[in-house]
């Protein structure tokens, strides 16, 4: 290691303000020249990197627990229908996919956020072409969107039948815990929709299941 000494203090020497000032300035210079290239080769490498120093992954293999939408659920008799969203239970508008509180991405340090939300969606689209409904009829889609801290970062028209979906969003997000919501919506019935069976059971209109997500925060 180099050593800077402008004035060596020796016994009996006189002292002046410059004796101190020069030494201080020299030390300051020594600090400014101690840059990262001068550090020992193994002072820092990937093995010594502190957790979450450059990125953090957030993965849910099932979201919510079991992977099914559990906010709007209409009970039906045993048989070929799911306990799922039916019109008597659907209040309209965007609904969360999880009945619990919003998903929190803890320890986000600020930077780029990438989110993937995957699953299977079901929408009952059989009544899209009603006799008395003027064009453009009423096609049915299971709308999907992701919000971060209340801001929509990705939105998709969504499944138009019983099919898999994946919504991918990316945004710059501020430092701090992030509040993420995975949301869905359907259209209301037209005047022609047959919404009940002859047995009087409301026909399920939509469901989401097999849901999982992966989010990656990168701040370097």
């Amino acid at each position: 290691m180099k050593r800077w000494a402008q004035r060596e203090a020796t016994a009996g020497a006189t002292i002046s303000p410059d004796a101190i000032n020069d030494e201080l300035r020299a030390q300051q210079s020594s600090v400014t020249t101690l840059d990262r290239d001068q550090l020992p080769g193994n002072y820092i490498d990937e093995a010594r990197l502190k957790d979450y120093a450059i990125l953090r992954g957030y993965v849910a293999t099932a979201h919510p627990a079991g992977g099914q939408q559990d906010v709007v659920v209409y009970d039906v008799p045993d048989g070929n229908m799911w306990d799922a969203c039916a019109y008597p239970a659907y209040p309209g508008g965007w609904q969360d996919a999880s009945a619990s509180t919003a998903t929190t991405l803890t320890g986000f340090k600020g930077g780029q956020l990438h989110i993937e939300w995957a699953g299977n969606g079901y929408i009952f689209g059989s009544m899209a072409s009603g006799l008395n409904v003027p064009l453009p009829m009423s096609p049915r889609y299971l709308g999907l969107r992701i919000t971060v801290n209340g801001v929509v970062i990705a939105e998709k028209r969504g499944p138009g039948c019983h099919e898999a979906f994946r919504v991918i969003g990316s945004t710059l997000a501020p430092q701090g815990d992030l509040s993420v919501r995975f949301q869905w919506r359907i259209e209301g019935p037209s005047q022609d929709d047959a919404t009940e069976t002859t047995a009087g059971t409301s026909v399920p209109q939509a469901h989401l299941y097999s849901m999982r997500y992966l989010a990656i925060g990168r701040w370097r």
Partner: protein, 296 residues
């Protein structure tokens, strides 16, 4: 970065131990610490340029890659239960498995991400509304005091992942975690609860629109929507919190025709063997890709 702004020592200033120590302390750079010179310094030359953040990536074609669909692989609806899944292959019996050779280790603090897609086309067949046992229809009012069989839109083909974690011979494929092979008895059917379908992607086995539904009734026979080639895709995430898991192979398999079913408040996907009789699925090519990287 902070900046030191102490004024210089001038003639006449008292030079005692306390004042000198304070001034020297100003330059000790106490914030030159492990954080700002180590944790935040990953752009140093001693960092490997690759292989430590993204620790593995692999991709391959699957199925039969005839993009003009000049020929395709046909899978008939499964009617004998419990049915084994059909592994995606090239039409000549060569299964499109992704081999990891001596094994791919997913360590603690890593996630394995798998993505797949496939070009497929379903044929619904004529038993979706068979009176003897098909789950594929609802009975909706026809406006004349009777009922009209109406497609539930629930019938589907299910694609999901299997892995082999036993040996490099890759002869023991099983469904990946949180995914079932849908071979468990559910009442009179075979299937799996939806909570065990978390590595799956589905596509419709057929779609029929109600013809001119009128004021809450379905007076006419439904209209079949011609099914065309469509792309299906799926994603699966496998994080490891502790320990390592070695994987030797990964592949996409399919089952069908399956249908929603509910028993005692539990939602299932079950095989509909009646609907399946006469239904089929054609598929061509697709892709299976994996990424493995650290999450912290």
């Amino acid at each position: 970065m902070s900046r030191i702004t102490d004024g210089p020592i001038t003639a006449g200033d008292a030079l005692d131990a306390a004042s000198l120590n304070t001034r020297f302390a100003s330059y000790t750079q106490t914030d030159l610490n492990a954080f700002n010179h180590r944790d935040a310094a990953h752009d140093l030359p001693q960092f490997a340029e690759s292989g430590w953040l993204l620790t593995h990536a692999q991709s391959q074609d699957i199925g039969l890659n005839h993009w003009k669909h000049s020929s395709s692989v046909t899978v008939n609806g499964m009617t004998v239960m419990p049915a084994d899944p059909h592994p995606i292959e090239d039409g000549a019996g060569n299964v499109s498995e992704m081999s990891f050779g001596a094994g791919l280790s997913v360590g603690a603090g890593e996630v394995l991400r798998a993505y797949w897609n496939l070009s497929a086309k379903a044929t619904q067949g004529s038993n979706w509304n068979a009176a003897t046992g098909s789950l594929g229809y609802y009975e909706l009012p026809d406006g004349s005091g009777g009922h009209r069989k109406t497609d539930t839109w629930g019938g589907c083909w299910v694609f999901y992942l299997q892995w082999d974690i036993t040996s490099a011979a890759r002869t023991n494929y099983v469904a990946v975690p949180l995914q079932s092979d849908c071979k468990a008895a559910v009442g009179a059917y075979y299937g799996a609860p939806l909570s065990s379908t978390l590595a799956s992607s589905v596509m419709p086995s057929g779609l029929r629109y109600a013809t001119d539904p009128d004021a809450g009734t379905v007076p006419s026979v439904s209209t079949e929507s011609t099914q065309r080639w469509r792309g299906i895709s799926g994603a699966w995430y496998y994080p490891r919190d502790a320990g390592a898991q070695v994987i030797y192979g990964l592949r996409v398999v399919l089952k069908g025709v399956m249908h929603p079913y509910q028993l005692s408040g539990v939602n299932y996907l079950v095989h509909d063997t009646v609907y399946s009789n006469g239904a089929s699925l054609d598929y061509n090519g697709g892709n299976l890709a994996v990424l493995k990287h650290r999450v912290k």
